[in-house]
C-alpha cells in the first residue's frame, strides 16, 4: 500500500497499542499533525512541550504502557529535555517523537534545528534519527521494544520532515525484533535464588527494602507473599510507595533521608536485607559505609549494572523481579513469628511515630491537609506531587494501598512535574480521583497547563500547600546555612484563585483549619472542571525526621 511517512508512523503507533499521545505542534511536525487530523489516535494538546512529556510519563507510570509524546524540532524538542531526564532517572517507558528539519538542511543550522539525538544521548535508554521513510517502521518497532523491555526507559525518535512527507510502498513489519546488541533478559540464576532463600530462612532480623522495580515489574502480589510468608517488615523507597500497602502491619513506611525512624533503625539492625528493584540511591542510604552495617545483602534487579554500583552485595540476582520473587517464594519456609525482632520494631513505632507540631499562629499545618486528602479518598486516588517539602510530607503522611497510584519525580526531582503528571494520570484513569499535591513554588513552573485541564474537562484537584517559600531550600538554609534565607522567600506571588478562574477552573482559598475538609470535599465532587485549592499553611514548617546530607541513617534529626 502506498503511504506517506506520517501515516506509516501513526499506523506503527497503533500497532504498538498506542491510543493516546500528548503533544504540541510546530513547523517540522506539520505532516504528522496533518495525519493526526483524521486519525483515531487521541491527541492531547498541552500548553508547553514540558507539559506533554510529563503527562506522557505519568500516563506510562499509571498504566504500565509506553507513554508517547510529540514535539516539533528545535525548541519543541529541547523543551522535552527535562521530562526525558525525569523519565530516565525513574525508569519510565516512553517514546518521545521529535520533529526535525528536512534531511537536506540537517547540519546547516537551519531554522528550528537542534541536535536532539546528541542532546539526549546521556538521558535516554537509546535514541534514533530516522534516515529514510523505508526504515521508519523498523525504527518505531525497535523504539517501543527497547522502551518497555528490561529496565524501562525513554527512547527518542527524531523524524526529519521530508521523511514524514515521502510516499512509499508500505509493508507492516511482522518479524520478531532482533537487535544483536540488545537482548531481553530471560530467566535468572536459580542457584542464587536458593542462596537467597537460605539466608532469608535463617534470618533473625530481616528487612525488605523495596523500590520502583517492584512496581514496574508488577510484582506487588509476590512481594506481599514474600513478606507475609516470612513475616518480614517492608520499607519502600519514594519510588516504591504503593508497591507494598502502607496500611499493612508489616509496613515500615519510607526509609532514607526523610524516612521513618523505625524504617531507618530497622535497616541499621537488620541481619539480612532483601533489596528488591532498588539502586541504593544516596537519599536512601545516607553515608554509604554505615548503611545496613550488620546485614548480608540480597540484591534483586533487572539491571546488572546496578549490582555492586553503590554497595557490595552478598547475593546478587539479576532478572525480572516478579519471576525471581515467584521462584523465591516457593523456597521459603513459613515463619510463625519473630517475637523479639517484631517487638523491637513495635517499640520503635511506639516511641517514634510519624507526627508533626502545631502552628503558633493557628495556621493550617501542611501535613494535616495531606492526612485529610488520604482520609477523604481512602487511598483510592492517584496522587501526584511536585518536588520539595510537600512531596516528602506526602510520602510521610499519605498512605498508598495500590501500585501505580503515587506519581512523583524521584530521581531527578523535577519541580513542575506534578500538575502535568496529574493530567496524564487522569487521561489514563478517568475512573479514579486524581490529586496533585503541590507547593507554591512548583505549581508556578507549569501552571499554564490549567489551559489543558480546563479544555479536556479534567476534574483534577490541585492542592497548593502555600507557605510563600521555596520551602525545602529554606529548610536547608535554616538548618545548614545559619538561617540566611537567600532568595527563597516567594511571597510576591499571584492570586492562585484568580489564576484558576482566569483559565476557567474553580479556585478556592483556605486559610482556616476548619475549612480544609469542606474545601477538599467540594473539590473532589467536581466532575468536569479542575479545582485549585490554595491552602495558606504554616510558613516555616519543616520536614522531619531527617538524616542530614552525608549522615548515617541511625542519626536522625527531629521527630523524636
Amino acid at each position: 500500500m502506498k503511504m506517506r511517512g506520517a501515516e506509516i508512523l501513526l499506523d506503527c503507533l497503533k500497532k504498538e497499542g498506542v491510543d493516546t499521545i500528548f503533544g504540541y505542534p510546530g513547523g517540522s511536525v506539520l505532516p504528522i499533525y496533518d495525519a493526526l487530523f483524521n486519525s483515531d489516535i487521541r491527541h492531547i494538546l498541552t500548553r508547553h512541550e514540558q507539559g506533554a512529556v510529563h503527562a506522557a510519563d505519568a500516563y506510562a507510570r499509571v498504566t504500565g504502557k509506553v507513554g508517547v509524546c510529540l514535539a516539533t524540532s528545535g525548541p519543541g524538542a529541547t523543551n522535552l529535555v527535562t521530562g526525558i531526564a525525569t523519565a530516565y532517572m525513574d525508569s519510565v517507558p516512553m517514546v518521545c517523537l521529535t520533529g526535525q528539519v528536512s534531511t537536506a538542511l540537517i547540519g546547516r543550522d537551519a531554522f528550528q534545528e537542534a541536535d536532539i539525538t546528541g542532546i539526549t544521548l546521556p538521558i535516554t535508554k537509546h535514541n534514533y534519527m530516522v534516515e529514510s521513510t523505508e526504515e521508519l517502521a523498523q525504527v518505531i518497532k525497535e523504539a517501543f521494544y527497547i522502551a518497555r523491555t528490561n529496565r524501562p526507559g525513554p527512547v527518542v525518535v527524531d523524524l526529519p520532515k521530508d521523511i514524514m512527507e515521502k510516499v512509499i510502498e508500505y509493508q507492516p513489519i511482522r518479524d520478531e525484533i532482533n537487535i544483536r546488541g540488545y537482548r531481553v533478559m530471560r530467566g535468572f540464576n536459580s542457584g542464587q535464588v536458593l542462596a537467597a532463600a537460605e539466608l532469608i530462612n535463617q534470618a533473625q532480623r530481616p528487612v525488605i527494602y523495596a523500590g520502583g522495580g517492584v512496581i514496574s515489574s508488577n510484582a506487588s502480589a509476590e512481594l506481599l507473599q514474600l513478606a507475609e510468608t516470612r513475616k518480614i517488615p517492608v520499607t519502600t523507597t519514594l519510588m516504591g510507595l504503593g508497591g507494598f500497602p502502607s496500611t499493612h502491619y508489616l509496613s515500615l513506611g519510607m526509609l532514607g533521608m526523610h524516612g521513618t525512624r523505625y524504617a531507618n533503625y530497622a535497616i541499621g539492625e537488620s541481619d539480612v536485607l532483601v533489596a528488591i528493584g532498588v539502586r541504593f540511591d544516596d537519599r536512601v542510604t545516607g553515608k554509604i559505609d554505615t548503611f545496613a552495617p550488620n546485614a548480608r545483602i540480597i540484591h534483586i534487579d533487572i539491571d546488572a549494572a546496578e549490582i555492586g554500583k553503590n554497595v557490595n552485595v552478598h547475593v546478587p540476582i539479576v532478572g525480572d523481579v516478579k519471576e525471581i520473587l515467584q521462584a523465591l517464594n516457593q523456597k521459603l519456609k513459613p515463619q510463625p513469628e519473630y517475637g523479639e525482632w517484631h517487638q523491637t520494631i513495635d517499640r520503635w513505632k511506639d516511641e517514634f511515630p510519624m507526627r508533626y507540631g502545631f502552628s503558633m499562629e493557628g495556621r493550617i499545618m501542611p501535613q494535616h491537609v495531606i492526612e485529610k486528602i488520604y482520609e477523604l479518598t481512602g487511598g483510592e486516588a492517584i496522587i501526584t506531587t511536585e518536588v520539595g517539602q510537600h512531596q516528602m510530607w506526602t510520602a510521610q503522611f499519605c498512605k498508598f494501598k495500590h501500585p501505580r497510584t503515587f506519581v512523583t519525580s524521584g530521581g531527578l526531582g523535577t519541580m513542575g512535574f506534578g500538575f502535568p503528571a496529574a493530567i496524564g494520570a487522569k487521561i489514563a484513569r478517568p475512573d479514579r480521583p486524581v490529586v496533585d499535591i503541590a507547593g507554591d513554588g512548583s505549581i508556578q513552573m507549569n501552571i499554564q497547563e490549567l489551559g489543558t485541564a480546563v479544555q479536556y474537562k479534567l476534574p483534577l484537584v490541585i492542592c497548593i500547600l502555600n507557605n510563600q517559600f521555596l520551602g525545602m531550600v529554606r529548610q536547608w538554609q535554616s538548618l545548614f546555612y545559619e538561617g540566611r534565607y537567600s532568595f527563597t522567600d516567594i511571597s510576591h506571588q499571584p492570586d492562585f484563585v484568580k489564576v484558576a478562574e482566569a483559565y476557567g477552573a474553580i479556585g478556592i482559598r483556605v486559610t482556616e483549619m476548619k475549612d480544609v475538609e469542606p474545601a477538599l470535599k467540594r473539590a473532589l465532587e467536581s466532575t468536569d472542571c479542575p479545582v485549585v485549592i490554595d491552602f495558606w499553611v504554616e510558613r516555616e514548617a519543616d520536614v522531619f525526621p531527617m538524616v542530614p546530607p552525608g549522615g548515617s541513617l541511625s542519626n536522625m534529626l527531629g521527630g523524636d
Binding site: 539525538t117 546528541g118 544521548l121 546521556p122 535508554k125 537509546h126 527497547i146 537487535i179 544483536r180 546488541g181 540488545y182 539491571d303 546488572a304 549494572a305 549490582i307 555492586g308 554500583k309
Partner: protein, 160 residues
Amino acid sequence: MKHTLSVTVENRPGVLTRVATLFRRRGYNIESLTVGATENPSISRMTIVVEGDDRIIEQVSKQLYKLVDVIKIVDMTEERFVERELVLIKVKADNNVRAEIVQIVDIFRARIVDIGRNTLIIEATGDSRKIDAIEDSLKPFGIIELVRTGKVAMVRGGKP
C-alpha cells in the same frame, strides 16, 4: 591496573559519541581508544585501554553493555593477547647524529619514512613498552613532533 577492552559495536554514525559520552559521564578514564573496521562491514571494533580496579572495570563493562549499539565486550587483560601500536616520530637529525639515530632505528626494527635537511621521520610498531622505549631513546636528540595511534589488540589462539 590497566585493562584492554575489545569492544565490538555496530558500524553506525554516533556510536563513538555514545561510548565516549558514557566514559565522560561516569568519570571513567580512557587511556587510549582506537576504532576501526573489521572483517564484517556492519561491525567496528574499539580497543579501549582503561585504568581502574576490578570493581571499576566491571562497572565500565556493564554500563557499556547497556548501550544498544555495543554487541560484545572482551576484557583481554584476562587473556593472552597480541597488542600493537604505531608511532611516527619527527626527530632532529643533523649530520653529526644521523648515524647514531639510524643505529637506534635498526635496533628497534623501526623504519625511516622521511628524510628532511635536518630531520628524520621514524615509524615504529610494537607493544606499548617498545614504543615507550624508542621514544625514550630518541628524546635526547630532540623530538619535534610525535604521534601514537593508540593500541589495537587481538586474543591469541583460535578464540575470536
